[in-house]
């Protein structure tokens, strides 16, 4: 054996280092998890006794015991429906164009760079853009449609980037194989690229939607209206959404409204988690189907 004792001493040191780092990484994982648990526990405690059927089926009110988030809930539902309707096709279309059709030139690179930058623009900026473009210039008013279009602009960069990544992960060998069998580019996209990329595109879209449903800032810029005592019935109606309702309750001095806000947060979280669950479910189902 060559100098066994030096090796052993060194090995011990290496093992200590290894253990140290794995503890460190576990620690950083726990920080995030613990904060989330404390947050949830706090919100749950605050909302205790307030999250009931009356809360879910009532309109906002000056009297905390009569207040509810019915209008905000349906407002969020309306806005999300239209946001998904607009942003999914445009987002996936853009991603397909950039990945499969666009030539590699300066203009395309500029567009690509802009999309990446737009993903980092603060949401309030989109709100101001929506206010001047959709609410005023296009005269849509402070409507569901204007809100959905604003959130669409905000979600698009994220969806496009997620879709591009999903499309890029489709092996080039599959594309070439399809071309070699006489496929046109559209057939390659339709039959090879999209089926493989779809789960990723879907996940990206739903995650962008989850972000959008929790946004208050851009909607505040468009529609400051909070006291809404009806359920919107058409896309040009005025509306409010869950985060704004919550924000409104939080900003009141009376303690009972704080409880209402906590109950609202629970509802928002449940909606968010259900959307993510749907994303996971759809992705798994689709993945199985394409592999068969």
């Amino acid at each position: 054996m060559r100098n066994g004792s030096a090796f052993k001493r060194h090995l011990k040191l290496r093992k200590i280092k290894g253990g140290l780092f794995s503890t460190l990484f576990l620690g950083s994982t726990l920080v995030g998890t613990l904060v989330l648990i404390v947050l949830l526990a706090d919100v749950l405690r605050d909302s205790a006794g307030w999250l009931d059927w009356q809360f879910l089926t009532s309109y906002p009110s000056r009297k905390p015991e009569e207040a509810g988030l019915l209008s905000a809930f349906f407002g969020s539902l309306w806005v999300m429906m239209f946001t998904a309707l607009f942003s999914f096709p445009v987002g996936i279309g853009t991603a397909i164009y950039l990945e499969e059709y666009a030539p590699d030139n300066r203009l395309i690179r500029l567009i690509q760079m802009n999309i990446s930058n737009l993903a980092g623009v603060p949401s309030i900026v989109y709100g101001l853009l929506g206010l001047s473009l959709f609410v005023q210039a296009l005269a849509l008013g402070r409507s569901i449609l204007a809100g959905a279009m604003t959130l669409t602009l905000m979600s698009l960069p994220v969806i496009i980037i997620a879709a591009q990544e999903a499309i890029r992960s489709v092996p080039e060998a599959h594309r070439l194989g399809a071309f070699a069998l006489g496929s046109t580019r559209w057939q390659v996209v339709r039959r090879i690229v999209l089926p493989s990329a779809f789960p990723g595109v879907l996940t990206g879209t739903i995650l962008a939607m989850s972000r959008a449903i929790g946004e208050a800032a851009p909607i505040i810029a468009i529609s400051a209206l909070v006291y809404l005592t009806y359920i919107p019935t058409n896309p040009l109606d005025r509306f409010t959404v869950l985060p704004i309702q919550i924000f409104n309750w939080v900003s009141r001095p009376q303690e009972d409204f704080q409880h209402l806000a906590a109950a609202g947060i629970i509802v928002l979280l449940v909606v968010l988690l259900s959307m993510n669950a749907v994303a996971i479910f759809l992705r798994n189902r689709y993945q199985k189907r394409t592999e068969e």
Binding site: G177, A178, L181, S183, S196, E291
Partner: protein
């Protein structure tokens, strides 16, 4: 002159990738219903030449072709020729098996489907799989994923996929380089069986393989500027036993490459 015994013919073919010349002055006639091997050291342009034969290079941005490739007496690079039609009639098998993440059946049915030949799909698929000597191994799992097959089976599936279109020429780009020796022999047997009915062009850096399977052999090399040229082309037996060019002799005797 292209005649009945010629399937494909390159005439003064040159290929560029942007400013880099990949092929220079290639002229060769691929005989009908025989196996032609293209051999040569890495980077000599064998695969590039093969991809000129079904216009796969078109998919690489910045690629340019000069000269002609005659197929049925028609230049496949003529302005009125659609590369889709070229690829429909000239099949290609790739270096690494690349079955689609679909069922065995859907893999074979893919070509007929995209080309609008969806009648009698079952018959077409079964026939193609039989021709590719794969039917017995997959007939009970036609609707299972092709990704579950072994590497050799996947490659035969890719051959079946090509056969389903009844191509006139099959281009094979080092089809065995990712396979074990047993799977390699199966593919070589298959090539010999298919040779009577299809013109096969195979790129290989395995000289034994070229000697075993091919009727004609082409030796390529790159010149100083890295452009690939055709050094010698002739019947395989003659090229391997009595090469005319000193460079061919050096290569096949293992003195370089």
């Amino acid at each position: 002159m292209a005649n009945n015994s010629t399937s494909l013919e390159a005439r003064k073919l040159e290929l560029w990738y942007r400013n880099f010349q990949a092929l220079r002055d290639i002229s060769m006639a691929i005989p009908r219903n025989q196996i032609t091997a293209i051999i040569g050291p890495s980077g000599c342009g064998k695969s590039s030449l093969l991809r000129c034969f079904n216009r796969m290079n078109d998919l690489i941005p910045g690629s340019r072709v000069k000269g002609e490739v005659l197929f049925d007496g028609r230049n496949i690079y003529a302005a009125d020729v659609d590369p889709t039609e070229v690829r429909y009639r000239i099949g290609m098998v790739f270096q690494k098996p690349n079955p689609f993440p679909k069922s065995v059946f859907e893999n074979v049915a893919f070509g007929p489907r995209v080309n609008g030949l969806a009648d009698n799909l079952e018959e077409i698929v079964e026939h193609a799989l039989q021709r590719a000597a794969l039917w017995d191994e997959v007939k009970d799992r036609l609707h299972k994923s092709a990704m579950e097959l072994s590497g050799g089976q996947q490659q035969r599936l890719c051959i079946a996929r090509t056969l389903a279109l009844e191509p006139e020429v099959i281009l094979m780009d080092e089809p065995c380089s990712a396979l074990d020796p047993v799977a390699t022999l199966k593919i070589e047997d298959l090539m010999r069986t298919l040779a009577g009915e299809y013109s096969i062009v195979i790129v290989t850096h395995n000289m034994q393989q070229a000697a075993r399977v091919s009727d004609m052999a082409a030796f390529m090399m790159m010149e100083q500027d890295r452009a690939g040229v055709l050094v010698e082309y002739g019947p395989t037996a003659r090229l391997f036993t009595n090469p005319k060019d000193k460079r061919t002799e050096d290569y096949i005797t293992g003195r370089f490459g």
